[in-house]
Symmetry: C2
Subunit: 323 residues, 2 copies
């Protein structure tokens, strides 16, 4: 994994990806006690940064692989990113999703043209199910984070942040990233290392699912005790990836942890101050920027708002509590 792979993915994304702006509000700056710049990947195609990695992975396949199709496992955002990128290239996409994934994510993945295979988290083995389909149909597996091209695609966010931060006069400080398996964080970390070495990536996770924070602290991969049971469904993973952890471990600062309620509060503030829609897992970095000022370095902080695919009932909850 290096910057060349990210730059190559970025060139393949040109003209297809949305280059999201940096948003800000004096009201958020006041809460945080420093400038807050938000990279709204909720405005990306399919509502999350995952479109980038999906596009990068699909476009890296050779013609034979494209003809046979791809399989992905995902609770929803990777699913939609792969589905849209595959459809754009006429590639068959089979997505294995847990049956308790947010309804909107399952419905959207199907509507984008993918074949969705649901499984029960409690009674079925996802990896076995996926392996069977892959073998039977000769599909190429595109995992949600531990894959060089997926990391490279997500890294395009880091290239944009490096350029946009410089335009804003920000050359030092923390870049907060909502973190599941670490695909986005590792891609951003590699991009910043090459293009904006004064910007330091930081993982942000929900309480109880802070595998990266603990792993970074202990210097080895640690697992979460549970893999479901949080409204931050987009960033729940059992443990850091084998490819992503070494990169994040080498380049990132200590991991940050926020509560579910802080994510809901950040959603309500993003609604009122930035007029963007975030899902709980996509609001974790903004929550840390606003509510963990003492754990953050620099006069400005950049928060990646990773996704906005949220069921209306959950969004209403954020407005009810904090609107």
């Amino acid at each position: 994994m290096d910057i060349n792979l990210i730059e190559a993915a970025d060139r393949r994304l040109e003209g297809h990806v949305r280059r999201t702006p940096l948003l800000s509000s004096p009201f958020l700056d006041e809460i945080a006690g420093r400038r807050v710049l938000v990279k709204p990947e909720c405005l990306q195609h399919t509502g999350s940064f995952k479109f980038r990695g999906g596009w990068a992975a699909i476009t890296a396949l050779d013609p034979e692989q494209r003809a046979r199709g791809v399989l992905a496992t995902s609770s929803g955002n990777h699913a939609q990113g792969i589905a849209k990128a595959a459809a754009a290239h006429g590639v068959r996409a089979v997505i294995v999703m847990p049956s308790d994934a947010p309804e909107i994510k399952i419905a959207n993945t199907r509507a984008l043209g993918a074949e969705v295979v649901l499984y029960d988290r409690a009674t079925e083995d996802r990896d076995l199910l996926a392996a069977d389909r892959i073998e039977a149909d000769g599909l190429s597996f595109i995992p949600p984070f531990d894959h060089p091209q997926v990391i490279a695609g997500q890294g395009s966010v880091g290239l944009e942040i490096a350029a946009q931060a410089q335009e804003e006069g920000v050359t030092e400080g923390d870049v907060l990233v909502c973190c599941g398996g670490g695909g986005l964080t590792s891609g951003i970390a590699l991009a910043l290392e090459a293009r904006a070495p004064g910007l330091r990536p930081r993982t942000v996770e929900p309480e109880g699912f802070d595998d990266f924070a603990r792993s970074l602290d202990e210097g080895r991969i640690c697992r979460n005790p549970a893999t479901s049971g949080s409204i931050c469904d987009a960033i729940l993973t059992p443990e850091p990836g084998r490819l992503t952890f070494p990169v994040v471990s080498r380049l990132a600062g200590p991991g940050l942890v926020v509560s579910e309620d802080e994510c809901l509060r950040a959603m309500a503030l993003a609604f009122a101050r930035l007029r963007i829609v975030l899902e709980p897992g996509g609001a974790a970095a903004l929550a840390a920027a606003l509510f963990r000022p003492e754990e953050i370095a620099g006069e400005a902080v950049i928060a990646v708002a990773t996704g906005g695919n949220v069921d209306p009932a959950v969004f209403r909850q954020a407005l009810d509590r904090h609107g």
Copy 2:
């Protein structure tokens, strides 16, 4: 009023305005039966396009005028645009607002540093109140739409649409604009006339407040029977402006009218499909794009989503009914 004034305003906005992207979703295209491109000015500074006109007007003042300050009348979005532009230039801003304006708009205008003067729509004369303050303090009056520099600033939206539509391969079709007094519509109309003559501006108004639609139909300025009583507060005006109407009349197609419920439905769809927050008046153009397909020409339609300053209770209503 001509393109030169708009181009000059656009140059003064450079580096200060947010150049908003064009957003889209295959799900919206399906509803509309054609491509739908959305210009999300809810992402603009202060949450609406009004920042553009405010900045253009403030930067057009001479040093003596700036030293004395400005006065604006507004139900909220123009207020915030003026407040922020004035604060950036160290200019005193007095804003006369109705006491029943949305709370968030009053609070934000104050927080942005403006002096807010509230008046009672039923018992007080706004224009008399404003005239007294203007005379007493030597303030420059910046009205919400009928002002050459305000129209020029709003016209920068049209310059961006002309360039972005061409990038998207769209050279013919309708550009739908949520319309109050016609400042934005007339500015966009002049920009499109010069830069993208195949794109035709169209006003969109809420039922019961369709002064532009009726005026365009009759070829003379017609008044609305009421000036309050709609959730589309941002685009309620008594009648088309004296400067704006001749421009819109010369360049725009017939006016479109949507219901309040259609605005709420468009808000819910913008939430789910574009992950942006719209206020009812800011969603009128998208509502027309989605729900009035038979009244629209072209293979693609561009809808300007003019603002996103909405009280949480109203947004919840959109999600409750249509989420």
